[in-house]
């Protein structure tokens, strides 16, 4: 166990350093949600969205989840490159904990996501978002856990494929429907019954609902349900990721 912690810190340190060096990835991940914030957010001003709070309290939580969804789901890209360069094998011939090789990377992704989320919320505030600090912090907790889950799945999948060409189309074709069906841009309260029903099968929907509730200061059942969905997702993803990282070739 002490090995796992120390190893995780070593691996985390390497990837944090790499991220700090190429600040481009920080900015790149933020680009899409920032565009929505600037060019889509103002359209919603005053439009009845069927939820509580104003349009910014509805949109910004959605964009936070979108940020988590996209930046974490593509995390596996990096490991495919590292596999092709022989870096993964070089690490795997050492006694380092296999789980630390996953956790160190995933924690870097979560840290990066937190910084991006903070920037996004600050920008949202400039546009007119007003939300309780506690609610925003709860929102960050949800997004981090979501990011950890999706990044684990992404790394696990990336370990099983050999090229970026096999990886990217799969992630894209999962992410877009997942985003639309979880009511990220507009709440599902506007949806016809069938669409609302379908969206209940997408776990991210509960995360979006929970973060929206947190942003209007409602710390009740929506958050509880969202927490259950997020923790379940994290448990499944980390178990799967751990299994694949433990097994692969050893």
């Amino acid at each position: 166990m002490s090995h796992l912690l120390a190893d995780t810190r070593v691996v985390f340190g390497r990837y944090v350093r790499q991220t700090l060096r190429s600040r481009i990835s920080l900015v790149f991940g933020l680009l899409q949600p920032m565009l929505f914030l600037a060019f889509f957010g103002p359209l919603l001003d005053g439009v009845p969205l069927g939820g509580r709070g104003d349009s910014w309290q509805t949109l910004v939580p959605g964009l936070l989840v979108q940020l988590g969804l996209f930046s974490a789901a593509f995390a596996g890209f990096g490991i495919i490159m590292e596999k092709q360069l022989g870096i993964v094998e070089r690490m795997r011939v050492t006694p380092v904990s296999r789980l630390a090789l996953l956790l160190g990377r995933v924690l870097r992704d979560a840290a990066q996501l937190l910084v991006q989320s903070l920037v996004l919320v600050l920008a949202g505030t400039a546009f007119g978002l007003r939300a309780p600090v506690l609610g925003v912090l709860i929102g960050f907790a949800f997004v981090s856990l979501l990011g950890i889950s999706l990044a684990s799945l992404s790394y696990a999948f990336a370990m099983r494929v050999n090229t970026v060409q096999e990886f990217a189309p799969v992630i894209n074709s999962i992410n877009l429907p997942a985003m639309l069906l979880s009511g990220i841009l507009l709440p599902m309260a506007l949806a016809p019954v069938w669409l609302d029903t379908v969206s209940h099968f997408v776990p991210f929907r509960y995360v979006v609902d929970a973060v929206r509730a947190a942003f209007v200061g409602d710390y009740g059942s929506d958050i509880a349900v969202g927490a259950l969905a997020t923790i379940a997702l994290a448990a499944v993803s980390l178990t799967l990721g751990t299994r694949i990282f433990r097994k692969a070739g050893a």
């Binding site: 360069l85 022989g86 011939v93 006694p95 380092v96 050893a250």
Partner: protein, 261 residues
């Protein structure tokens, strides 16, 4: 002295779309401590697959192996602590500093930070990398990169060093330098070196003993002189003729066994 590495009936099969490929069909061998063993064979003979099994990267489908007293299947972590591995292709990140790669590798072997840093400096001095420590890996030449790969594999002072075709793609000067380096590593530390290569002159020059594999099995083993006498017809036969006499052909082009799964 007891052998430092033994295998018994070590085998690996791969399931592919075209059926089962038996990449390694049962290898029995013993390597003495401090020996430089040349592990030769045509493409697709099972060299890399054997090496990947011995370095814990690939689980054998059958058989067993013991390295420095540790059972490969039962104690992979203990095996990893006593071996170093240099793969066919270099394993460094292009935009990392040479120093960072060395220290990070030391940390993966759980050296304390200060010790990893000291060891990085020490190895850089031994392997003529000191001037390059604060360069990015992408700026190194082929020969420099190979020396870095070897330094990475030596950071924890392994007892057995596995080298998979270490001089492929190097110019003649760098190859000669690398041969000297490999001899020096064995000479100073008594490190056992397990070397695969395509170059017969390299095998002839460096190895104390050769194992020639073909079609997943050991086809012949012995010192260069023994093999030349037995298969080449004379003590001064070329290793090239000896090799072809043993395997029945020159190097084969297609490699059936996948390198990774």
């Amino acid at each position: 002295m007891a052998p430092i590495l033994t295998t018994h009936d070590l085998a690996r099969t791969f399931e592919t779309k075209r059926g089962t490929v038996e990449a390694v069909r049962g290898i029995d061998m013993a390597v003495e401590p401090g020996e430089i063993l040349g592990f030769l064979g045509p493409n697709g003979a099972g060299k890399s697959t054997t090496l990947r099994m011995l370095t814990t990267l690939l689980a054998p489908t059958r058989g067993s192996a013991t390295i420095a007293g540790h059972d490969l299947a039962g104690e992979p972590e203990a095996v990893r602590r006593v071996i170093g591995y240099v793969a066919q292709s270099s394993g460094v990140a292009p935009d990392e500093l040479v120093r960072h790669e060395l220290v990070f590798q030391g940390r993966l072997y759980r050296l304390p930070r200060a010790e990893a840093e000291a060891r990085a400096d020490e190895l850089a001095a031994e392997l003529d990398l000191t001037e390059l420590l604060d360069r990015k890996c992408a700026e190194l030449s082929g020969g420099q990169k190979r020396r870095l790969d070897i330094a990475l594999a030596l950071i924890h002072r392994p007892e057995v060093l596995f080298l998979d075709e270490p001089t492929t793609g190097l110019d003649p000067g760098s190859r000669a330098d690398l041969w000297d380096l490999i001899r020096r590593i064995r000479g100073q530390q008594g490190t056992t070196v397990f070397l695969t290569t395509h170059y017969l002159d390299e095998a002839d020059e460096l190895s104390d003993r050769l194992i020639i594999v073909d079609d997943g099995r050991i086809a012949a083993e012995g010192t260069q002189r023994e093999l030349k006498t037995r298969y080449g017809g004379a003590e001064d036969a070329t290793l090239q003729d000896t090799f072809i006499a043993i395997t029945g052909r020159g190097p084969r082009k297609d490699d059936l066994a996948p390198v990774a799964l």
